[in-house]
Symmetry: C3
Subunit: 226 residues, 3 copies
């Protein structure tokens, strides 16, 4: 019997997750859940949309897995928070790995990872919990992608890199071999990261990239982690 799946979220990414899980995975989507404050419809694709607060009553965590399909809102903190809520509710968090992606057998993945088509995850890579790899990214051998990071599309992370947790990497950003960026980095589209920027909360743009004077914390009005 196919594994049942609850999608947490109801925006465009939830629609896309519904499509991808339905067409290209062994899961069968059985419903959607959003926080009650955001509940705006009670049906989607003919499936129920319920308040996340009540989800357990309707979708038993013993038989239904969950996937939090939220983009990079608030520098990935919403996705991180809802993954925590789903875990508290007892849900096992499912991964989506496109059959058109290459994830090498020596790579390791956390939970609630969404990997779109044409991504390459090479030898020895680690992808943390809650990461989204949109489309066509390259993660070079031995690199580590921190929890809840979001890679948009066509990003090149060369070998032996470290990407801090909750970072956002814009389309076509490029990283040299062996560089490190800190937590909560916001890397602009087509930025060229040719050296390490280990500080947390940097906004990095340009060719080559330089940090902005404004931090990602100020930009998103977020508290830096303690």
């Amino acid at each position: 019997m196919p594994q049942e799946l609850l999608i947490i979220g109801a925006g465009e990414f939830a629609d896309i997750a519904y499509e991808y899980f339905t067409v290209d995975s062994p899961y069968t989507v059985v419903g959607f859940a959003v926080e009650r404050a955001h509940l705006a419809e009670d049906e989607k694709f003919g499936l129920p949309v319920v308040a996340l607060e009540d989800a357990v009553a309707r979708f038993d965590p013993a038989t239904t897995e969950a996937h939090v399909a939220i983009t990079s809102t608030q520098l990935n903190r919403v996705r991180q928070r809802l993954v925590g809520v789903a875990r508290e509710h007892g849900y096992t968090l499912a991964n989506f790995i496109s059959p058109r992606a290459m994830v090498w057998r020596t790579a390791t993945l956390g939970d609630n990872v969404f990997i779109f088509e044409n991504n390459v995850v090479q030898h020895g890579v680690h992808i943390g919990d809650g990461c989204v790899l949109w489309s066509g990214n390259h993660i070079g051998h031995q690199s580590r992608i921190g929890d809840f990071s979001f890679m948009s599309s066509h990003v090149v992370v060369s070998g032996y890199c470290t990407i801090g947790p909750r970072s956002f990497l814009g389309v076509n950003a490029t990283f040299a071999d062996g560089v490190t960026i800190g937590a909560d980095s916001l890397v602009g589209m087509a930025a060229v990261i040719n050296k390490s920027f280990p500080d947390n909360g940097l906004i990095l743009n340009g060719h080559p990239a330089e940090p902005s004077r404004v931090s990602s914390y100020r930009y998103y009005k977020l508290k830096p982690p303690a």
Copy 2:
């Protein structure tokens, strides 16, 4: 029985189209047609090359489809014009979709579309008539590519973008989410489009991209559309 196909054009792209349709599609190429003024050979790969003006007599539109395999000559106007001629002759215009491309089931395509390997056409995208997507481009969810546009290779069109008709997008150009560019845009290689440029006929280059003072109409010596 495999569907018979007439290729309109006889240059390098026609050679490539012959290869791709032959190896990776259900079509069987049965000949080539070019406008009489450009007729320089009467055989190619052992197949007849005829004047487009006489093509109907030799290749019956009731049993043979056609594909106009012309690159971006005159900012895509030659391909646009010959697609019109082929339609007047009564030909159904065939698409080539590489089996190594991903075109999501919710995307819609016009006629005479050529999609090379490793392209990604995501959820809800529309690709207009006569578009060429060379190799390895990403068209993000809900974006719209105007008729007769030409995307070279490794272009990233993020989500919710609008590309005006007959635009040329150079290799590795990058578009932010939700931007619009006008008709007849000429986007340089590796240009970084981080905001909308809705005017028609702009030449856009640089990181970030800025419009040139010369328009694409002047650059190609073309009349702007009325």
Copy 3:
């Protein structure tokens, strides 16, 4: 019976080559060889590591092929030299072509070529001896890649280009149609090559790229070829 393969090299690339040949090729890796001066272990993945000088005694070139898995050390000269040594020992040099790469049937390849996943080698391309195409590169129709060149990842070589031998192309570098670069070029990450730079030994960086005042020969402390 699967073909036996000796990997020459014992670093990270040798590990990766072991993985790729083992999982995704008809070859069975039977051992590793390194020059005696670099011999630091006698076993790897349960297989013998021998001195290259003694390899023939242990691994008969009549029944075992070889692949030199060395990255771009000394601007690809180490790989070039060891391919020469392997040939002197009588080894046939094997290619690795990822089943996830597209190499068009009209392309031609030299020996000891390593092509990772998601590479595209289009119509009429030639890839010289000893080239490494890391991941997700595009080699456009009719382009020629000189012997012992190293392309990192997501490089776009457009159509009709010529890349001089032993060149290193950094991640996400982009080449316009029809450009030529000389031998021993060192092309930086995300460099935008919008015209030809036919001189040998140039270091090219930037958007658009300009040559550095220092040559690649001086940078790597190498003698220019006579």
